[in-house]
């Protein structure tokens, strides 16, 4: 029992990190059919910015955790919007493949830039949560895992509220379904795409900052997470935001359970197992668990 709940909470915490990065991927994919390969490195880069805010004195003092956290989200948003305007917008009329190549270039550039600015060695990144546990009915529940899960899902929830209840959120959904029709209604879709990149960068920053305390800060810290996020997004169906979150949480819990109960699944095997799941999903249900096969009436 104890073992099960520990594995479950650890899985949900990991899963929430996958889920937010997966959601970032889906956000951009749904609007433009582009897989943003730089999503992980954008998250890494913004986590370094959080690190800089936490450790380097600015105007004479360093920030404490939560002010630094929220400031990083704001910076990430501006960063995401800026990248879309500078790198992606000029490729508006180019093919999807060209844009994907640009995101791969962005991946390499951001990775190199982070190593150059902050050095490639591992750094300790603080956690806002204590390492202690709650004991509920004899079961130890990690505050770290619960906090990670809670903060990440809270951010996802706020984003959901935005998409569901605001006019701008509605316009972004409409623009993703039918961009030409949205423009004919007066929607400036080009700016909404930039907004989408901003939100994706914010989600990435959350997943980066939540994963850094356990995985340490390094220029390659998000590369494995990005693959887990891909697997989560494909698992849920690349077009489905709900699917991305469910896929992320499901994958996190599954990997944690396998690691706990199936002896040969050591941490080294997590990535291969995730990729195996990815393959199996693509073979059996290519549209993903929450995706729909697109049928067009002719």
């Amino acid at each position: 029992m104890q073992q099960f709940f520990q594995a479950l909470m650890a899985g949900l915490a990991d899963g929430a990190i996958f889920a937010s990065l997966a959601l970032a991927l889906v956000l951009i994919y749904k609007a433009t059919e582009v897989i943003n390969f730089a999503q992980g490195e954008m998250a890494m880069f913004t986590t370094y910015i959080a690190y800089a805010l936490l450790t380097h004195p600015h105007f004479g003092h360093t920030l404490s955790y939560w002010p630094a956290f929220f400031m990083t989200l704001v910076i990430a948003f501006v960063f995401g919007v800026g990248l879309q305007r500078v790198v992606i917008k000029p490729l508006e009329k180019a093919s999807v493949l060209t844009v994907v190549m640009a995101t791969i270039a962005l991946l390499v550039i951001l990775n190199g830039l982070a190593a150059w600015i902050w050095s490639p060695e591992l750094k300790f990144f603080p956690s806002p949560f204590p390492t202690s546990t709650w004991v509920i009915g004899g079961v130890h529940i990690s505050k770290q895992d619960t906090g990670t899960f809670g903060v990440t899902l809270a951010c996802v929830f706020v984003l959901w509220l935005f998409f569901r209840f605001t006019k701008l959120g509605l316009a972004m959904r409409a623009g993703a379904v039918n961009p030409v029709a949205a423009r004919l209604l007066g929607v400036r879709t080009s700016w909404l795409l930039a907004l989408g990149w901003g939100f994706a960068a914010v989600l990435g920053a959350v997943s980066g900052m939540m994963s850094a305390p356990t995985n340490f800060l390094s220029p390659s810290m998000m590369q494995a997470v990005l693959i887990f996020a891909f697997a989560s997004a494909v698992l849920g169906g690349l077009e489905s935001p709900v699917g991305a979150v469910a896929g992320g949480l499901g994958l996190g819990v599954l990997l944690s359970m396998l690691g706990t109960y199936v002896h040969p699944v050591t941490p080294e095997l997590r990535l291969p197992v995730a990729l195996l799941i990815l393959l199996v999903v693509l073979l059996i249900k290519p549209a993903g668990l929450f995706g729909r096969v697109v049928v067009r009436r002719v």
Partner: protein, 233 residues
């Protein structure tokens, strides 16, 4: 009085293929004007050239102002609603969300009461996914959404496409209604010449990207060439 919309020698191309060779036409305020013609005559391209969904050469003047290369969102903001071929509804969104998108450019809470007077059935279907509506209902939804834009000119591209004759008649009845009661000017592209000439005051006939004929609906209905080519009697 100057016309509401004036196209002066407008041409447009899709890559190397020219689709319009210098089309000139006008729409007056409060008027319904039809554009007739066979497939590939350039009817759809004419509307696209106005709304900026295709690159155009030549001048388009709307309400006394020359429309620059502002793209579809700019044209919409200038007061032209374009219901494109295939209706352009957001299939994954609900009926109500589609309507809210119609009022996207307006500040504050949109007022849906007028639109519900013309399309009362929309109220009961508000939470239905728009993609699950029938073709005729989707066309009506597109009309309602365009009306919520509060345009001065409504451009409709083949509203009869894929609809049963009775439904087509109903669509044109609502269009005429909006024209009479709201004074909305309409530029409608249609293959079904009989129904379009029934609703319109004037019409243009396009052939291979040029205006071949124009006149009042009555003149065109009695024109022998139009009768044999488009009306079939």
């Amino acid at each position: 009085m100057a016309p509401l919309l004036e196209l002066k020698d407008v041409s447009a191309r899709y890559g190397p293929v020219a689709a319009l060779h210098g089309v000139s036409l006008t729409v007056d305020a409060g008027e319904i004007v039809a554009i007739l013609g066979a497939n590939g005559a350039g009817k759809t391209t004419t509307l696209r050239a106005v709304s900026g969904t295709v690159r155009r050469d030549g001048d388009v003047v709307f309400a006394g102002k020359r429309l620059g290369r502002m793209g579809p969102e700019g044209t919409a903001r200038a007061g032209i609603a374009h219901v494109p071929e295939g209706r352009g509804i957001f299939a994954e969104l609900t009926v109500w969300e589609n309507l809210r998108m119609g009022a996207y450019m307006r500040r504050g809470r949109p007022n849906f009461s007028t639109v519900l007077e013309y399309f009362p059935w929309l109220d009961a279907r508000r939470n239905q996914q728009a993609g699950t509506l029938s073709g005729g209902e989707q066309q009506m939804l597109a009309l309602a959404r365009a009306f919520l834009q509060r345009p001065r000119l409504l451009m409709l591209d083949e509203p009869s496409l894929g609809l049963a004759p009775l439904v087509t008649r109903e669509v044109f009845r609502v269009v005429s209604d909006l024209n009479h009661k709201e004074g909305l000017a309409v530029l409608v592209v249609e293959q079904n010449a009989a129904i379009a000439l029934g609703a319109a005051q004037r019409a243009y006939v396009l052939e291979t990207g040029n205006v071949a004929l124009s006149g009042t609906a009555e003149q065109l209905k009695s024109d022998d060439a139009v009768r044999s080519a488009y009306l079939g009697y």
